[in-house]
Point group: C2
Chain length 304, copies 2
């Protein structure tokens, strides 16, 4: 059983866009109408042994990551976070102090990003051997350019990324994948600045190659990335920068002028968007000199 | 470590009511403002070995119950369901067909109650021995009497319950706790009919005694229930009807005339609301002839 097939089942059997749900599941967040007001919503989960290792990761960082991953989805829609709801299922011997420390880390992270916790549940597993499961539901409202989806990129756009990519998961399991800053301010700054010229956006969780391919497929376009332009984290080459996951930076397609820095974060043009020609090999190709590489083959099957 | 103490920590450390979150966590649902529009939200989880037993419960009923529990919270606020988001964490050997059957049961139940699924995640545990965990987040909008909380009961009100109580958990683990009808239509009918006379409401999950006590404490009142008036399910005496949990019927306090049936469901007056006098022994007392019993001692520490 492959997880990606299960998730595909979730999306394939969802209803298409309706008046009540103008953006159905499958993007970073869905959008629904409450009365006539648009509300964005998404849910995500992190599990011990899959998304982090409790033996080596401080509880505070587990709680922080559960929340910041969801806030990164809000950034990807160029939207404002509004509220969070969390659940925690704990091994039966987890202990009161550790349980409250984990919960407090989630709430403090939520507060820091001005996104109050409005619901929570803590339950114990029957056994001590059952793993910690955290879920986070995030609610948001559209930013100054509306809810920016993955599906609006068009031929002639330039492709950009924020920050620097690669190496977020350290050899000890720690690293930037636990401490990253969700790019909410950058996304809202872009939306304010570019308005309708901000055509499509996604956050990089699976790796640049795979996430750019999600964006290309949803938009029905082809993307070429110039390997030499990819902004790499220290000690990381372009290949890892394009394939490592959990950067939680933004990748977006836009037309016209784009600021080179926003909220102190570099914004780098790395590629171009084209019509999907009849000879298209892959939705995203990375150009390295005269060579062209299928970027979707660089990504990884996601820790998350 | 007691679960109830952990949940108390969640509520105690939540912010009080604010302009942005007029109803904070601690009621059946919280209420927040998105722009100026009120949105209700709540999250809940069900875990194999705690809330159901996968060995004896059909998957379809597990998925159904995960969703209907959350819809019962919407009914308790006399509100309209708007959307659901669900997560499923599965043992690694669960199998594709069973995973999609579980998910489909959740989606079909959501559709049946006109509450579309707008977000979902399915993840595998690392091990085959780790338990199934489902979470459901539900969003709602206030009904015709606004969002009805637990805290508006006042001296002089009459206390009512819908349906018949007790015996929802059969000796084989099956029974009404899996197949109950969330009382959304009844709740909206009451709200339409009573408007501002519908003062406070809760759904019965912990048992009538304990849930009436939640309502009494939140409202700062004392409640007397007449044992002879409690509507009991077949083969159940008043003591079990007042203490068994997972009825998912409504318990509410209202002033003036109340219909005796709504949407085909009986509505029964079972008690009265008083000022909490200086000699008050318990927030809820059950009168049996000349005797008076502390109703909070009848309830159970919740399967859920």
């Amino acid at each position: 059983m492959r997880e990606s097939e299960l998730l595909q089942h979730v999306y394939d059997t969802a209803d298409g866009p309706t008046r009540q749900v103008p953006i159905p599941p499958g993007d970073d967040m869905a959008m629904l109408l409450v009365g006539e007001v648009p509300v964005l919503a998404a849910v995500d989960q992190v599990i011990d042994g899959r998304h982090f290792d409790l033996d080596t990761t401080p509880l505070e960082l587990v709680g922080r990551k559960a929340v910041t991953r969801s806030l990164s989805d809000v950034a990807a829609m160029a939207s404002h976070p509004v509220a969070l709801l969390v659940t925690v299922a704990l091994p039966s011997d987890f202990g009161h102090d550790r349980a409250t420390a984990l919960f407090d880390a989630m709430r403090e992270t939520a507060r820091y990003y001005e996104c109050p916790l409005v619901g929570g549940d803590i339950t114990l597993h029957r056994d001590a051997s059952s793993p910690l499961v955290c879920t986070v539901t995030v609610l948001a409202r559209p930013g100054p350019a509306g809810a920016v989806t993955r599906s609006g990129a068009r031929s002639g756009d330039t492709l950009y990324v924020t920050g620097r990519l690669g190496g977020s998961l350290g050899p000890d399991g720690l690293g930037r994948h636990l401490t990253f800053e969700p790019r909410i301010s950058v996304a809202l700054g872009l939306a304010e600045n570019l308005q309708t010229r901000l055509h499509a956006m996604i956050d990089i969780s699976d790796g640049l190659g795979r996430d750019a391919a999600h964006l290309a497929r949803c938009s029905g376009v082809r993307i070429e990335i110039d390997a030499a332009r990819i902004p790499c984290a220290d000690g990381v080459d372009w290949r890892r920068a394009a394939s490592d996951g959990e950067d939680y930076e933004l990748c977006f397609a836009a037309a016209g002028e784009v600021p080179s820095t926003l909220a102190g974060v570099p914004v780098t043009a790395i590629g171009r968007v084209f019509e999907p020609g009849p000879g298209t090999v892959a939705p995203v190709e990375i150009r390295v000199g005269a060579e062209s590489i299928d970027a979707t083959r660089l990504g990884w099957e996601h820790r998350s």
